[in-house]
């Protein structure tokens, strides 16, 4: 059985991954998924590439802990998180979060919960390439607010610039 948290440079096949998540199972009534992609522009600039860095080891541990937390909050039959790193071009997929559940509500909610958690607590960093050069993406206060809706305090963006962010 493939790991349910995977970090790599290569692209992923959304259809194949969703099929694998429910393969051979009859207890799954709903599969919800989120795919985040690289946008080709922010409010200010065109983006020609996005480079993603992460903290090997911690990333996998942190996301696995998030899945365990989602299992304590929702009815989760299976979950999968794939996150790409390295240099990505506009239109390319960055992240896949998929949750299989008996019913749609738990699948939708667990998927959104995992994505909100990942945005503020998984150690990834994005760098945009613009006509003005390269720059690190600022964390957004809105992403902390999204996690706080689930009753979890988050101060990832505190003290930072709180600007525009690409991707999911």
């Amino acid at each position: 059985m493939a790991a349910r948290v995977r970090i790599h440079e290569a692209d992923f096949d959304v259809g194949a991954e969703l099929a694998a998540l429910q393969a051979g199972r009859t207890d799954i009534g709903a599969v919800a998924s989120f795919v985040g992609c690289v946008r080709g522009h922010t409010r200010e600039d065109d983006i020609s590439a996005m480079t993603l860095e992460h903290y090997p080891g911690m990333t996998e541990r942190a996301i696995e802990a998030m899945i365990v937390e989602s299992e304590s909050r929702f009815s989760v039959q299976a979950a999968l998180v794939i996150h790409r790193v390295g240099r990505l071009l506009p239109g390319e997929r960055i992240v896949l979060v998929a949750v299989a559940s008996s019913h749609r509500r738990d699948a939708f909610q667990a998927c959104e919960f995992l994505m909100d958690y990942l945005k503020t607590h998984a150690p990834f960093w994005k760098k945009e390439t613009t006509p003005q050069g390269e720059r690190w993406v600022d964390a957004r206060v809105a992403d902390d607010a999204a996690l706080e809706r689930w009753g979890l305090a988050s101060a990832n963006a505190a003290g930072g610039q709180g600007g525009e962010s690409g991707g999911g």
């Binding site: 860095e53 992460h54 541990r61 996150h83 990942l118 150690p123 990834f124 990832n156 930072g160």
Partner: protein, 85 residues
């Protein structure tokens, strides 16, 4: 005490990827005390780890408060707010 130090993203660009460190803390060995000591090591450290800068810390690969006590052999990472997804 021996520590493994890691930097990521903009901090890695300013300070390098990190490495092993033999640190003799003057007081209680917390992540905050380590950050303060690192600031004394160079102008680049003083700037990148300045008190007003948004710097997050992980101890043994878990996000941690700066008041977290460090154990001998700990892995301590400093990095900017995360921006994945």
């Amino acid at each position: 005490m021996k520590l493994t130090l890691k930097y990521f993203a903009s901090l890695r660009e300013s300070l390098g990827a990190g490495g092993t460190l033999d640190w003799q803390p003057a007081g209680e060995p917390t992540a905050a005390a380590l950050r303060a000591w690192l600031r004394t090591q160079s102008d680049a450290h003083a700037q990148a780890l300045a008190p007003g800068r948004a710097v997050r810390v992980a101890v043994d690969q878990s996000l941690a408060d700066e008041s977290t006590p460090l154990r001998d052999g700990a892995e301590v990472a400093f990095f900017p707010p995360v921006t994945g997804g």
